[in-house]
Amino acid sequence: MSKLFQKTTVLLAVVVLMFAFVLGGCGTVKQEEANGPDSGQQETPAEPVVVRMEGGDWGFPQPYTRYSRGPGNARVNYIFDKLIEQDEKGFIPWLAEKWDVLEDGTKYIFHLKQGVIWHDGVPFTGNDVVFTFGYTKEYPSVGSPDVFLDDTYMLEVKALSDYQVQFTLAEADANFFEILSSVYILPQHIWAEIDRPDEFTSSEAVIGTGPFILTDYNKEHGTYRYEAFGDFWGPKPAVDVMEFIPVSDSVLALEKGDIHIADIPVDVLPRFKNDPNYTVMEKPGFWGYRLRFNMEKVPEFKTREERQAFAYAIDRQDLVDKTARGAAIAGSLGVLPPDHRWFNPDLPKYERDVEKAKTLLAQAGLVNKKLQYELLVGEGREVRIGELIKEQLSDIGIDIKVVSTDMKTRDGRIAQGNYQLVLVGLGGWARDPNYLGVRFTGGDRGSWADGTPGYFNAEVEELAESLRTEQDEDTRKELTMKLQQVLAEDVPEISLYLTTGQVVFRNDVYDGWMHVFDHHETTHNILSFLKR
């Protein structure tokens, strides 16, 4: 009896010890002054606007320590500014209030905002901009574009005065603004001494010029708390406090009031639609699935008719209905998604037509040939998409073997070109149409990751190259329309569908949510939190 008692005591002691450890560990959490929505102790004339969103750990919010996923980038974006920003229509002036384009697009002079201060009160100048681009070249950050490793791209960045910075490029590049919009300007007076930026996590590392200041971050709990920066140079913050907290189920959390905005599955949408306190907002389809052909590995994929036969046999709407429960939009064969600002609506639609697909296979001389291919997919939903494609293609005599691996294995096989057909899901479809060139042109311009091995179309090459160097927006739009036309006829890949769905928010708490032109998340852009 006494031994049993001893053992129980020991076990209890261990539990108590662990509990003490947890308590101790928890003690490292920085405890904020109680200024949450329930405390009511904030001494401001108006009730502060506190918006709570789904959290999770996306890294310490500076450009070198955030994680390489979208939410990680957003956490940095609240604190740091870029030279330009995005709104609903395109790029807009930000730290740079205007710019001159010189010498056929190889030289840019940016005129910076005056009177901007860093969160520690030090004035922001052109030297910070020059420093940032030099520093990013020396230490590429998590999300900085690859051109920073290419000495032949950006020849020079220099300050002409405190508020004028000149960039010199080797050649004109329509992607330049996308590159600029991914570089957060860092304070020289803080970062100049830092030689391990990925280990820099002191409070100084999150001093930016942006509209919000980080007041709390906890890695293991996945929480962030931001407060509006009173001396922000730009549009006044419309939100006083942003809190990101972990959520088990976003629908339950939204209903319970733990968070104020969430993506809601179609089947539970009626619970929010009829409640005046909630507003439902449609999400644009900028994240999608591509079915890619490896024409190097399977030479018969070079036959356009076979690829077109695939397009006629695959019922993209059926994939939307069965694997996305309707919360998606079928892809266009011109590749740019229907929600893209330069989408071409006048393209061949490729409605499912089994007979036409069979005729095309006959034209390609593939009727009596055994057509058997391996389709590489990831996990979860991708397996269901793969199985449906297998079923649909079996109607035209094509036998598909679906092979599922984890994401990294699949990506590794893409890098090695070790696949016949592959399904990939990725974001960024609303970006500048230059990515069409990356996907469908060969040689050095094509990307090993996004490219289409073995594919060559002279017209695509020409159009993509013009699109890359052309400066005039209207001409670029025209080129994009034409390029989509060529792609839709040639079918170098099949855009299956783009996820859409609904985001629901508590309008009695905050209703300033918006989508920028190139992103599907409302909480990832900074304008959603500012008065405009």
Partner: protein, 349 residues
């Protein structure tokens, strides 16, 4: 005496060798997995990922020393390990030591609490069932607990979340603490932590109690038919003494073995609760470290787990000696007597 010392020495060498094999496997296995920490072309649904070009991947591989020969990486790893440094995480951008140390206590807290509760419940209910074998109490308990142990833990967790958390509003829906809160006292903080841990612990407890209950019930059932039980009764011992000292103690041996064997799997079980309740812990971290191929973090977590399992084995070895006198080594003063006793007991059985 000398033999015993040698045996102890052998034991130490055995543990050291096991340890060396484990750290070598820890180093080799992540690198043998297909895929690369910096290579990715795809994301989860709705997830935008920063894709790297060949040059960027090369840069990051050099930066984190992955371009060096494997043998050099291995010796660096061993040297750092000898200093107690588990390395720097490529994805989480933090020291692996600090990442693990901040999360491990939460998992241990859940797992140990749930284990203690399920053992206690399992023993109480299992022995009650065994005393009432084939009566209605036994039948009811048996059915209820079998049903619970067959339902997947995450479903139990979801049901509890929806019913007790969202429906009745008795417990928080996620997390381990009230975030950004200020506590007036340690007690308040402790209550808050317990309040948040209640549902995850309950889920894990419900998932485990069934197995322990069955084991205790069956094992005790067997023990109750043994001759020494009849002897104890014949000696006129009190019922309490018979039940708990003679019967239960003997019935608990298989349970103890099972718990010792399962310690490693417990962390795996914690992933379920951590996932459902968005609870900070090492289970979910382990999964995502593998998903993103974060070699140092994978190495670190598996090392900690391996040490945990080895420690559990050692503890089990030691604890057996207290529970089961047959495995107790001879003490120096009365070594011969005990050896004789052991022999006699072995002879009896």
């Amino acid at each position: 005496m000398g033999i015993i010392k040698d045996r102890k020495g052998f034991r130490v060498i055995e543990y050291l060798l096991t340890f060396l094999v484990i750290i070598s496997l820890n180093f080799a296995l992540p690198r043998m997995m297909p895929g690369d920490p910096f290579l990715h072309y795809s994301g989860e649904v709705d997830e935008v990922v920063a894709f790297y070009s060949r040059e960027q991947i090369q840069y990051f591989r050099e930066y984190y020393g992955l371009d060096r020969p494997l043998l050099e990486q291995y010796t660096t790893y061993l040297k750092e390990l000898a200093r107690g440094d588990l390395g720097f995480s490529y994805y989480y951008k933090d020291n692996v030591n600090s990442i693990i140390l901040r999360r491990l206590p939460w998992t241990m807290f859940l797992v140990i609490s749930a284990m203690a509760l399920s053992i206690a419940l399992g023993i109480i209910l299992g022995s009650y069932s065994a005393w009432r074998r084939n009566k209605w109490q036994d039948n009811t308990l048996y059915t209820v607990l079998i049903v619970f142990s067959e339902i997947p833990a995450f479903l139990v967790g979801l049901a509890l979340l929806i019913w007790l958390g969202a429906g009745l509003g008795l417990f928080p829906l996620a997390g381990a603490v009230t975030h950004f809160a200020r506590y007036d006292s340690v007690w308040e903080k402790m209550l808050d932590i317990l309040h948040h841990a209640a549902l995850p612990i309950l889920t894990l407890t419900l998932a485990r109690t069934g197995g322990i209950y069955l084991l205790v019930r069956n094992s005790l059932g067997t023990v109750l038919t043994k001759d020494y039980m009849r002897t104890a009764r014949a000696k006129g011992l009190k019922e309490f003494r018979i039940r708990y000292l003679h019967a239960l103690r003997n019935a608990l041996m298989p349970l103890f073995t099972r718990i010792a064997i399962q310690l490693g799997a417990l962390i795996g079980g914690a992933i379920l609760a951590e996932n459902v309740f968005s609870y900070p812990g090492i289970g979910v971290l382990m999964r995502s470290a593998v998903v993103v191929r974060d070699y140092p973090l994978i190495q670190g977590i598996f090392l900690v787990l391996a040490i945990g399992v080895m420690a559990a084995n050692m503890l089990a070895d030691l604890a057996y000696k207290y529970i089961d006198p047959r495995t107790r080594p001879a003490a120096s003063s009365n070594q011969d007597t005990i050896k004789l006793e052991v022999k006699m007991q072995k002879g009896e059985t």
